[in-house]
Protein backbone atom coordinates (compact mmCIF):
# COMPACT_ATOMS: atom_id res chain seq x y z
CA UNK A 1 0.00 0.00 0.00
CA UNK A 2 1.04 3.57 -0.55
CA UNK A 3 2.94 4.62 2.57
CA UNK A 4 1.17 7.97 2.66
CA UNK A 5 -2.21 6.31 2.75
CA UNK A 6 -1.25 3.77 5.35
CA UNK A 7 0.06 6.64 7.45
CA UNK A 8 -3.30 8.38 7.19
CA UNK A 9 -5.17 5.25 8.22
CA UNK A 10 -2.77 4.51 11.09
CA UNK A 11 -3.05 8.05 12.45
CA UNK A 12 -6.83 7.84 12.31
CA UNK A 13 -6.77 4.60 14.29
CA UNK A 14 -4.45 6.08 16.92
CA UNK A 15 -6.64 9.16 17.22
CA UNK A 16 -9.67 6.94 17.71
CA UNK A 17 -7.89 5.03 20.49
CA UNK A 18 -6.97 8.27 22.20
CA UNK A 19 -10.56 9.43 22.05
CA UNK A 20 -11.61 6.11 23.58
CA UNK A 21 -9.34 6.84 26.53
CA UNK A 22 -10.27 10.46 27.03
CA UNK A 23 -13.94 10.61 26.09
CA UNK A 24 -15.11 8.38 28.96
CA UNK A 25 -13.71 10.95 31.38
CA UNK A 26 -15.89 13.57 29.78
CA UNK A 27 -18.89 11.25 29.65
CA UNK A 28 -18.54 10.19 33.28
CA UNK A 29 -18.20 13.78 34.40
CA UNK A 30 -21.16 14.84 32.28
CA UNK A 31 -23.44 12.09 33.59
CA UNK A 32 -22.53 12.74 37.20
CA UNK A 33 -22.94 16.48 36.92
CA UNK A 34 -26.21 16.21 34.98
CA UNK A 35 -27.84 13.79 37.37
CA UNK A 36 -26.24 14.87 40.61
CA UNK A 37 -26.42 18.64 40.49
CA UNK A 38 -30.06 18.71 41.51
CA UNK A 39 -29.21 17.04 44.82
CA UNK A 40 -26.62 19.60 45.83
CA UNK A 41 -27.91 22.11 48.32
CA UNK A 42 -26.78 23.76 51.52
CA UNK A 43 -28.79 21.22 53.44
CA UNK A 44 -27.24 18.28 51.56
CA UNK A 45 -23.70 19.42 52.25
CA UNK A 46 -24.07 20.64 55.81
CA UNK A 47 -26.58 18.50 57.63
CA UNK A 48 -26.78 15.06 59.18
CA UNK A 49 -28.26 12.09 57.34
CA UNK A 50 -31.76 11.10 58.49
CA UNK A 51 -34.10 8.17 58.12
CA UNK A 52 -31.45 5.58 57.33
CA UNK A 53 -29.63 7.86 54.90
CA UNK A 54 -32.63 8.29 52.62
CA UNK A 55 -32.99 11.89 53.68
CA UNK A 56 -30.88 14.69 55.08
CA UNK A 57 -27.29 15.48 54.16
CA UNK A 58 -23.85 13.95 54.05
CA UNK A 59 -21.95 16.22 56.45
CA UNK A 60 -20.45 13.43 58.60
CA UNK A 61 -19.14 11.69 55.49
CA UNK A 62 -17.58 14.88 54.16
CA UNK A 63 -16.00 15.74 57.50
CA UNK A 64 -14.88 12.16 58.04
CA UNK A 65 -13.06 12.17 54.73
CA UNK A 66 -11.43 15.51 55.53
CA UNK A 67 -10.20 14.20 58.89
CA UNK A 68 -8.88 11.00 57.34
CA UNK A 69 -7.07 12.84 54.59
CA UNK A 70 -5.59 15.32 57.01
CA UNK A 71 -4.40 12.54 59.29
CA UNK A 72 -2.88 10.62 56.41
CA UNK A 73 -0.96 13.68 55.24
CA UNK A 74 0.30 14.56 58.70
CA UNK A 75 1.69 11.07 58.98
CA UNK A 76 2.94 10.50 55.46
CA UNK A 77 4.37 13.85 54.36
CA UNK A 78 7.23 14.21 56.86
CA UNK A 79 8.11 10.54 56.53
CA UNK A 80 7.88 10.55 52.75
CA UNK A 81 9.82 13.77 52.23
CA UNK A 82 12.57 12.62 54.56
CA UNK A 83 12.77 9.26 52.83
CA UNK A 84 13.10 11.08 49.52
CA UNK A 85 15.86 13.26 50.98
CA UNK A 86 17.63 10.12 52.11
CA UNK A 87 17.44 8.62 48.64
CA UNK A 88 18.50 11.70 46.72
CA UNK A 89 20.91 13.47 49.06
CA UNK A 90 22.45 10.89 51.32
CA UNK A 91 22.52 7.41 49.88
CA UNK A 92 24.89 6.85 47.05
CA UNK A 93 23.90 4.01 44.81
CA UNK A 94 24.44 1.31 47.37
CA UNK A 95 22.56 -1.77 48.41
CA UNK A 96 20.48 0.05 51.01
CA UNK A 97 19.20 2.63 48.55
CA UNK A 98 18.34 -0.05 46.01
CA UNK A 99 16.41 -1.89 48.70
CA UNK A 100 14.51 1.28 49.59
CA UNK A 101 13.69 1.94 45.93
CA UNK A 102 12.44 -1.61 45.48
CA UNK A 103 10.33 -1.25 48.61
CA UNK A 104 8.72 1.93 47.25
CA UNK A 105 7.92 0.30 43.93
CA UNK A 106 6.22 -2.51 45.77
CA UNK A 107 4.39 -0.28 48.21
CA UNK A 108 2.98 1.51 45.19
CA UNK A 109 1.80 -1.78 43.75
CA UNK A 110 0.19 -3.34 46.81
CA UNK A 111 -3.60 -3.50 46.22
CA UNK A 112 -5.53 -1.03 48.31
CA UNK A 113 -7.62 -3.78 49.91
CA UNK A 114 -4.40 -5.39 51.16
CA UNK A 115 -3.58 -2.09 52.85
CA UNK A 116 -6.97 -2.45 54.46
CA UNK A 117 -6.06 -5.90 55.75
CA UNK A 118 -2.73 -4.61 57.01
CA UNK A 119 -4.39 -1.70 58.79
CA UNK A 120 -6.88 -4.07 60.35
CA UNK A 121 -4.11 -6.40 61.49
CA UNK A 122 -1.71 -3.81 62.87
CA UNK A 123 -3.60 -0.66 63.89
CA UNK A 124 -7.08 -1.93 64.70
CA UNK A 125 -6.10 -5.20 66.35
CA UNK A 126 -2.41 -5.26 67.28
CA UNK A 127 -2.12 -1.68 68.55
CA UNK A 128 -5.72 -1.75 69.72
CA UNK A 129 -6.77 1.55 68.14
CA UNK A 130 -9.99 -0.12 67.09
CA UNK A 131 -11.89 0.95 64.01
CA UNK A 132 -11.11 4.64 64.28
CA UNK A 133 -10.03 7.73 62.44
CA UNK A 134 -6.51 7.10 63.75
CA UNK A 135 -6.33 3.58 62.29
CA UNK A 136 -7.80 4.75 59.00
CA UNK A 137 -5.46 7.74 58.71
CA UNK A 138 -2.39 5.64 59.39
CA UNK A 139 -3.49 3.05 56.85
CA UNK A 140 -4.15 5.68 54.20
CA UNK A 141 -0.89 7.38 55.15
CA UNK A 142 1.17 4.29 54.41
CA UNK A 143 -0.77 3.83 51.20
CA UNK A 144 0.09 7.31 49.89
CA UNK A 145 3.70 7.13 51.07
CA UNK A 146 4.99 5.94 47.68
CA UNK A 147 3.18 8.80 45.90
CA UNK A 148 4.82 11.32 48.19
CA UNK A 149 8.27 9.74 48.10
CA UNK A 150 8.28 9.43 44.32
CA UNK A 151 7.19 12.98 43.59
CA UNK A 152 9.47 14.45 46.26
CA UNK A 153 12.32 12.48 44.79
CA UNK A 154 11.65 13.86 41.35
CA UNK A 155 11.45 17.36 42.78
CA UNK A 156 14.78 17.00 44.60
CA UNK A 157 16.48 15.44 41.60
CA UNK A 158 15.36 18.33 39.41
CA UNK A 159 17.39 20.77 41.52
CA UNK A 160 20.69 21.22 39.64
CA UNK A 161 23.72 19.56 41.15
CA UNK A 162 25.75 22.75 41.19
CA UNK A 163 23.45 24.35 43.80
CA UNK A 164 24.78 21.76 46.20
CA UNK A 165 28.39 22.08 45.08
CA UNK A 166 28.31 25.86 45.39
CA UNK A 167 26.68 25.74 48.79
CA UNK A 168 29.14 23.18 50.13
CA UNK A 169 32.07 25.09 48.65
CA UNK A 170 30.98 28.13 50.66
CA UNK A 171 31.38 26.19 53.89
CA UNK A 172 27.78 25.14 54.43
CA UNK A 173 27.29 21.77 56.06
CA UNK A 174 25.47 19.00 54.28
CA UNK A 175 22.18 19.61 56.04
CA UNK A 176 22.44 23.40 55.62
CA UNK A 177 22.95 22.80 51.92
CA UNK A 178 19.82 20.68 51.71
CA UNK A 179 17.82 23.04 53.89
CA UNK A 180 18.79 26.30 52.19
CA UNK A 181 19.95 25.44 48.67
CA UNK A 182 17.89 22.39 47.72
CA UNK A 183 14.58 22.20 49.58
CA UNK A 184 13.34 25.71 48.72
CA UNK A 185 13.69 24.95 45.02
CA UNK A 186 12.09 21.52 45.36
CA UNK A 187 9.17 22.77 47.40
CA UNK A 188 6.60 23.21 44.61
CA UNK A 189 7.28 19.66 43.41
CA UNK A 190 6.96 18.32 46.94
CA UNK A 191 3.68 20.20 47.36
CA UNK A 192 2.41 18.71 44.12
CA UNK A 193 3.11 15.24 45.46
CA UNK A 194 1.38 16.10 48.69
CA UNK A 195 -1.76 17.22 46.90
CA UNK A 196 -1.76 14.11 44.71
CA UNK A 197 -1.47 12.04 47.87
CA UNK A 198 -4.39 13.95 49.36
CA UNK A 199 -6.50 13.21 46.31
CA UNK A 200 -5.64 9.55 46.39
CA UNK A 201 -6.41 9.22 50.10
CA UNK A 202 -9.70 11.07 49.70
CA UNK A 203 -10.98 8.72 47.03
CA UNK A 204 -9.92 5.33 48.34
CA UNK A 205 -12.49 3.03 49.85
CA UNK A 206 -10.93 -0.38 50.34
CA UNK A 207 -8.31 0.67 52.93
CA UNK A 208 -10.94 2.27 55.16
CA UNK A 209 -13.52 -0.50 54.90
CA UNK A 210 -12.26 -2.35 57.96
CA UNK A 211 -10.22 0.33 59.65
CA UNK A 212 -12.58 3.23 60.21
CA UNK A 213 -15.70 3.37 58.11
CA UNK A 214 -19.07 3.45 59.76
CA UNK A 215 -22.09 2.37 57.78
CA UNK A 216 -24.44 4.93 59.26
CA UNK A 217 -23.39 7.26 62.04
CA UNK A 218 -25.45 10.43 62.14
CA UNK A 219 -23.15 12.36 64.44
CA UNK A 220 -19.76 13.93 64.13
CA UNK A 221 -16.65 12.13 65.41
CA UNK A 222 -15.45 13.44 68.79
CA UNK A 223 -11.86 12.17 68.80
CA UNK A 224 -9.36 10.32 66.68
CA UNK A 225 -10.45 7.10 68.34
CA UNK A 226 -13.98 7.43 66.98
CA UNK A 227 -15.36 5.65 63.98
CA UNK A 228 -16.48 7.88 61.20
CA UNK A 229 -18.37 7.91 57.96
CA UNK A 230 -16.41 8.71 54.82
CA UNK A 231 -17.49 9.89 51.39
CA UNK A 232 -16.27 7.03 49.19
CA UNK A 233 -17.59 4.39 51.56
CA UNK A 234 -20.86 6.25 51.88
CA UNK A 235 -21.25 6.23 48.09
CA UNK A 236 -20.58 2.50 48.08
CA UNK A 237 -23.10 1.91 50.81
CA UNK A 238 -25.95 3.93 49.34
CA UNK A 239 -25.42 2.53 45.87
CA UNK A 240 -25.17 -1.15 46.76
CA UNK A 241 -26.25 -1.85 50.30
CA UNK A 242 -29.29 0.29 50.93
CA UNK A 243 -32.24 -0.02 48.57
CA UNK A 244 -34.59 2.85 47.87
CA UNK A 245 -32.18 5.78 47.95
CA UNK A 246 -33.19 8.43 45.45
CA UNK A 247 -31.04 8.39 42.34
CA UNK A 248 -30.07 12.04 42.57
CA UNK A 249 -28.79 11.53 46.12
CA UNK A 250 -26.43 8.84 44.88
CA UNK A 251 -25.29 10.95 41.98
CA UNK A 252 -25.06 13.95 44.24
CA UNK A 253 -22.75 12.07 46.62
CA UNK A 254 -20.65 10.92 43.68
CA UNK A 255 -20.50 14.51 42.48
CA UNK A 256 -19.26 15.79 45.82
CA UNK A 257 -16.58 13.11 46.03
CA UNK A 258 -15.52 13.60 42.44
CA UNK A 259 -15.37 17.37 42.81
CA UNK A 260 -13.17 17.07 45.88
CA UNK A 261 -10.76 14.63 44.27
CA UNK A 262 -10.60 16.29 40.89
CA UNK A 263 -10.09 19.75 42.37
CA UNK A 264 -7.12 18.44 44.32
CA UNK A 265 -5.67 16.83 41.21
CA UNK A 266 -6.30 19.88 39.11
CA UNK A 267 -4.51 21.98 41.71
CA UNK A 268 -1.55 19.62 41.51
CA UNK A 269 -1.45 19.79 37.71
CA UNK A 270 -1.62 23.59 37.68
CA UNK A 271 1.02 23.91 40.40
CA UNK A 272 3.35 21.60 38.56
CA UNK A 273 3.04 23.29 35.20
CA UNK A 274 3.52 26.75 36.72
CA UNK A 275 6.57 25.49 38.57
CA UNK A 276 8.05 24.08 35.37
CA UNK A 277 7.45 27.30 33.50
CA UNK A 278 8.93 29.45 36.25
CA UNK A 279 12.11 27.47 36.60
CA UNK A 280 15.10 29.56 35.65
CA UNK A 281 17.83 27.00 35.54
Amino acid sequence: MDPRRSQKIAFAVLLLATLLVVLPVVVILAIIVAKGASAISWDFLFSMPREGMSAGGILPAILGTLYLVLGAVIFAVPLGVMAAIYLVEYSSDNRMSRLVKLAIVNLAGVPSVVYGLFGLGIFVTFFGFGASILSGSLTLGIMILPVIITSSREALESVPKHFRTVSLSLGASRWQTIRHSVLPHALPGILTGMILGLGRAAGETAPILFTVAAFYLPRLPQSVFDQSMALPYHLYVISTQVPGIAENVRYGTALVLLTLVLLLNLAAIVLRSRFRRKKKW
Binding site: S92, D93, H162, F163, R164, T165, V166, S167, L168, S169, L170, G171, A172, S173, Q176, H180, S181, H185, K280, W281
Partner: protein
Protein backbone atom coordinates in the same frame (compact mmCIF):
# COMPACT_ATOMS: atom_id res chain seq x y z
CA UNK B 1 59.67 21.85 59.47
CA UNK B 2 56.74 24.15 58.66
CA UNK B 3 57.76 27.13 56.62
CA UNK B 4 55.45 30.06 57.43
CA UNK B 5 55.77 31.25 53.88
CA UNK B 6 54.08 28.09 52.64
CA UNK B 7 50.30 28.41 52.55
CA UNK B 8 49.79 24.93 51.19
CA UNK B 9 52.17 22.02 51.40
CA UNK B 10 51.20 19.01 49.30
CA UNK B 11 53.05 15.83 50.15
CA UNK B 12 52.98 12.50 48.30
CA UNK B 13 49.41 13.22 47.32
CA UNK B 14 47.44 10.79 45.12
CA UNK B 15 43.84 10.70 43.89
CA UNK B 16 42.08 7.70 42.35
CA UNK B 17 38.68 7.52 40.75
CA UNK B 18 37.77 3.85 40.97
CA UNK B 19 40.76 2.38 39.18
CA UNK B 20 41.71 5.47 37.28
CA UNK B 21 44.64 7.33 38.77
CA UNK B 22 43.84 11.03 38.44
CA UNK B 23 46.76 12.48 40.36
CA UNK B 24 50.03 10.75 41.16
CA UNK B 25 52.62 11.44 43.81
CA UNK B 26 52.20 15.17 43.92
CA UNK B 27 54.66 17.24 45.96
CA UNK B 28 54.57 21.02 45.88
CA UNK B 29 54.34 24.18 47.95
CA UNK B 30 52.12 27.17 47.37
CA UNK B 31 53.37 30.40 48.93
CA UNK B 32 51.26 32.94 50.73
CA UNK B 33 50.15 35.91 48.63
CA UNK B 34 51.26 34.59 45.30
CA UNK B 35 49.33 33.78 42.18
CA UNK B 36 50.08 30.16 41.56
CA UNK B 37 48.90 29.01 38.16
CA UNK B 38 48.36 25.48 37.00
CA UNK B 39 48.37 24.68 33.31
CA UNK B 40 48.01 21.49 31.34
CA UNK B 41 45.80 19.84 28.74
CA UNK B 42 42.36 18.39 29.47
CA UNK B 43 42.33 15.46 31.91
CA UNK B 44 45.74 16.32 33.24
CA UNK B 45 44.48 16.47 36.84
CA UNK B 46 44.36 20.26 37.23
CA UNK B 47 40.77 20.43 38.45
CA UNK B 48 41.21 17.34 40.60
CA UNK B 49 44.14 19.10 42.24
CA UNK B 50 42.14 22.27 42.83
CA UNK B 51 39.19 20.36 44.26
CA UNK B 52 41.54 18.49 46.57
CA UNK B 53 42.64 21.75 48.18
CA UNK B 54 39.17 22.38 49.64
CA UNK B 55 38.03 18.77 49.68
CA UNK B 56 35.27 19.24 47.14
CA UNK B 57 36.83 16.09 45.75
CA UNK B 58 34.97 14.28 48.55
CA UNK B 59 31.74 14.82 46.61
CA UNK B 60 32.89 12.45 43.88
CA UNK B 61 31.59 9.16 45.27
CA UNK B 62 34.30 6.92 43.83
CA UNK B 63 37.26 9.14 44.73
CA UNK B 64 40.04 8.10 47.09
CA UNK B 65 42.87 10.30 48.27
CA UNK B 66 46.16 9.44 49.94
CA UNK B 67 49.09 11.48 51.14
CA UNK B 68 48.60 14.81 52.87
CA UNK B 69 47.84 18.43 52.21
CA UNK B 70 48.73 20.99 54.87
CA UNK B 71 47.15 24.42 55.15
CA UNK B 72 49.33 26.66 57.33
CA UNK B 73 50.94 23.48 58.60
CA UNK B 74 47.68 21.78 59.56
CA UNK B 75 46.43 18.68 57.80
CA UNK B 76 43.21 19.58 55.97
CA UNK B 77 41.71 16.16 56.63
CA UNK B 78 42.81 15.22 60.11
CA UNK B 79 43.29 18.70 61.53
CA UNK B 80 40.11 20.63 60.78
CA UNK B 81 36.40 20.51 59.99
CA UNK B 82 35.63 20.42 56.33
CA UNK B 83 33.30 23.43 56.69
CA UNK B 84 36.12 25.48 58.23
CA UNK B 85 38.48 24.46 55.47
CA UNK B 86 36.03 25.49 52.77
CA UNK B 87 35.49 28.86 54.42
CA UNK B 88 39.21 29.48 54.42
CA UNK B 89 39.68 28.16 50.90
CA UNK B 90 37.04 29.58 48.57
CA UNK B 91 36.53 28.50 44.98
CA UNK B 92 35.24 30.12 41.80
CA UNK B 93 34.12 27.61 39.21
CA UNK B 94 34.61 27.56 35.47
CA UNK B 95 31.04 28.59 34.77
CA UNK B 96 29.46 31.44 36.69
CA UNK B 97 27.14 29.61 39.06
CA UNK B 98 25.13 32.10 41.09
CA UNK B 99 22.42 30.61 43.29
CA UNK B 100 18.91 31.54 42.12
CA UNK B 101 18.46 34.14 44.86
CA UNK B 102 19.18 37.85 45.06
CA UNK B 103 22.61 39.40 44.62
CA UNK B 104 22.69 40.30 48.30
CA UNK B 105 21.75 36.80 49.43
CA UNK B 106 24.35 35.25 47.16
CA UNK B 107 27.08 37.30 48.76
CA UNK B 108 26.04 36.65 52.35
CA UNK B 109 25.19 32.96 51.82
CA UNK B 110 28.37 31.69 53.48
CA UNK B 111 28.03 34.11 56.40
CA UNK B 112 24.43 33.13 56.97
CA UNK B 113 25.45 29.49 57.07
CA UNK B 114 27.97 30.41 59.78
CA UNK B 115 25.07 31.82 61.75
CA UNK B 116 25.74 35.52 61.23
CA UNK B 117 22.44 37.40 61.59
CA UNK B 118 23.55 40.92 62.38
CA UNK B 119 22.27 42.96 59.44
CA UNK B 120 24.93 45.64 59.84
CA UNK B 121 27.68 43.09 59.58
CA UNK B 122 26.05 41.50 56.56
CA UNK B 123 25.67 44.88 54.86
CA UNK B 124 29.31 45.71 55.51
CA UNK B 125 30.45 42.36 54.17
CA UNK B 126 28.40 42.84 51.00
CA UNK B 127 29.82 46.27 50.30
CA UNK B 128 33.40 45.28 51.09
CA UNK B 129 33.43 42.11 49.03
CA UNK B 130 31.57 43.62 46.07
CA UNK B 131 34.08 46.48 46.05
CA UNK B 132 36.96 44.03 46.20
CA UNK B 133 35.61 42.19 43.18
CA UNK B 134 34.86 45.46 41.32
CA UNK B 135 31.16 44.84 41.04
CA UNK B 136 29.87 47.32 43.62
CA UNK B 137 29.32 50.29 41.32
CA UNK B 138 27.37 48.19 38.85
CA UNK B 139 25.00 46.53 41.31
CA UNK B 140 24.79 48.71 44.40
CA UNK B 141 21.33 49.95 43.45
CA UNK B 142 19.82 46.55 42.74
CA UNK B 143 21.18 44.26 45.43
CA UNK B 144 17.78 42.68 45.94
CA UNK B 145 17.31 41.68 42.29
CA UNK B 146 17.96 38.10 41.17
CA UNK B 147 21.60 37.29 40.55
CA UNK B 148 20.56 35.36 37.45
CA UNK B 149 19.82 38.69 35.70
CA UNK B 150 23.49 39.75 35.68
CA UNK B 151 25.72 39.27 32.64
CA UNK B 152 28.17 36.36 32.57
CA UNK B 153 31.15 38.50 33.52
CA UNK B 154 29.22 40.17 36.33
CA UNK B 155 28.05 36.79 37.60
CA UNK B 156 31.62 35.57 37.72
CA UNK B 157 32.67 38.63 39.74
CA UNK B 158 29.66 38.03 42.00
CA UNK B 159 30.92 34.50 42.57
CA UNK B 160 34.27 36.01 43.56
CA UNK B 161 32.56 38.44 45.94
CA UNK B 162 30.63 35.52 47.38
CA UNK B 163 33.79 33.84 48.60
CA UNK B 164 35.44 37.09 49.65
CA UNK B 165 32.54 37.81 52.01
CA UNK B 166 33.68 34.95 54.24
CA UNK B 167 37.19 36.47 54.52
CA UNK B 168 39.06 33.45 53.23
CA UNK B 169 42.85 32.93 53.08
CA UNK B 170 43.03 31.27 49.73
CA UNK B 171 41.07 31.80 46.52
CA UNK B 172 40.88 28.96 44.03
CA UNK B 173 39.91 29.75 40.44
CA UNK B 174 39.02 26.92 38.09
CA UNK B 175 39.34 28.30 34.57
CA UNK B 176 37.24 31.26 35.64
CA UNK B 177 37.32 33.00 32.27
CA UNK B 178 36.69 30.04 30.01
CA UNK B 179 33.13 31.13 29.35
CA UNK B 180 33.75 34.86 29.12
CA UNK B 181 34.48 37.36 26.38
CA UNK B 182 37.93 39.07 26.19
CA UNK B 183 36.80 42.26 27.97
CA UNK B 184 35.30 40.40 30.92
CA UNK B 185 38.39 38.19 30.98
CA UNK B 186 40.65 41.22 31.23
CA UNK B 187 38.60 42.57 34.13
CA UNK B 188 38.85 39.28 36.01
CA UNK B 189 42.61 39.16 35.43
CA UNK B 190 43.03 42.71 36.75
CA UNK B 191 41.02 41.73 39.77
CA UNK B 192 43.27 38.72 40.39
CA UNK B 193 46.37 40.91 40.43
CA UNK B 194 44.86 43.13 43.09
CA UNK B 195 43.41 40.28 45.14
CA UNK B 196 46.75 38.55 45.51
CA UNK B 197 47.95 41.36 47.73
CA UNK B 198 45.52 40.16 50.36
CA UNK B 199 44.97 36.54 49.48
CA UNK B 200 46.77 33.53 48.12
CA UNK B 201 45.46 32.77 44.64
CA UNK B 202 45.55 29.41 42.87
CA UNK B 203 44.49 29.70 39.25
CA UNK B 204 43.85 26.72 37.04
CA UNK B 205 43.71 27.72 33.41
CA UNK B 206 43.77 26.11 30.01
CA UNK B 207 44.86 29.41 28.55
CA UNK B 208 48.64 29.42 28.53
CA UNK B 209 48.82 33.13 27.78
CA UNK B 210 46.71 33.86 30.84
CA UNK B 211 49.16 31.98 33.03
CA UNK B 212 51.98 34.01 31.51
CA UNK B 213 50.10 37.26 32.15
CA UNK B 214 49.16 36.82 35.79
CA UNK B 215 51.09 33.88 37.23
CA UNK B 216 54.11 34.22 39.49
CA UNK B 217 54.85 30.57 39.70
CA UNK B 218 53.38 27.97 37.37
CA UNK B 219 53.02 24.20 37.49
CA UNK B 220 52.56 22.10 34.39
CA UNK B 221 50.40 18.98 34.80
CA UNK B 222 50.19 16.14 32.33
CA UNK B 223 48.13 12.96 32.70
CA UNK B 224 47.96 13.13 36.47
CA UNK B 225 51.56 14.08 37.08
CA UNK B 226 53.24 17.36 37.73
CA UNK B 227 55.94 17.63 35.10
CA UNK B 228 57.56 20.76 36.46
CA UNK B 229 56.98 23.78 38.64
CA UNK B 230 58.93 27.03 38.50
CA UNK B 231 58.79 30.79 38.23
CA UNK B 232 56.36 31.59 35.47
CA UNK B 233 58.87 33.67 33.52
CA UNK B 234 61.45 30.91 33.69
CA UNK B 235 59.00 28.25 32.59
CA UNK B 236 57.97 30.25 29.57
CA UNK B 237 61.51 31.02 28.46
CA UNK B 238 63.52 27.95 29.44
CA UNK B 239 61.29 25.03 30.39
CA UNK B 240 63.16 22.19 32.05
CA UNK B 241 61.15 19.48 30.35
CA UNK B 242 60.63 19.25 26.59
CA UNK B 243 56.94 18.31 27.12
CA UNK B 244 56.39 21.60 28.92
CA UNK B 245 57.93 23.47 26.05
CA UNK B 246 55.85 21.54 23.54
CA UNK B 247 52.65 22.33 25.41
CA UNK B 248 53.42 26.01 25.87
CA UNK B 249 54.27 26.46 22.23
CA UNK B 250 51.06 24.71 21.26
CA UNK B 251 52.47 21.52 19.82
CA UNK B 252 49.76 19.58 21.66
CA UNK B 253 46.94 20.28 24.00
Amino acid sequence: MVNPQHKFSVRNFNVHYDHFSALRNLNLEINANEIFTVIGPANSGKTTFLNSLNRLIDLVPASRCSGEILLDGIDIRAGMEVETLRRKVGIVFALPLPLPISIFENVVFGLRMQGVRDLRRLNQAVERSLRESYLWDEVKDRLSTPAMNLSGGQQQRLCTARILAGQPDVLLFDEPTSGLDPISTARIEETLLILKKKYTVVLVTNNVAQAARVGERTAFFLMGEMIEVSETGKMFTTPADTRTGDYITGKFG
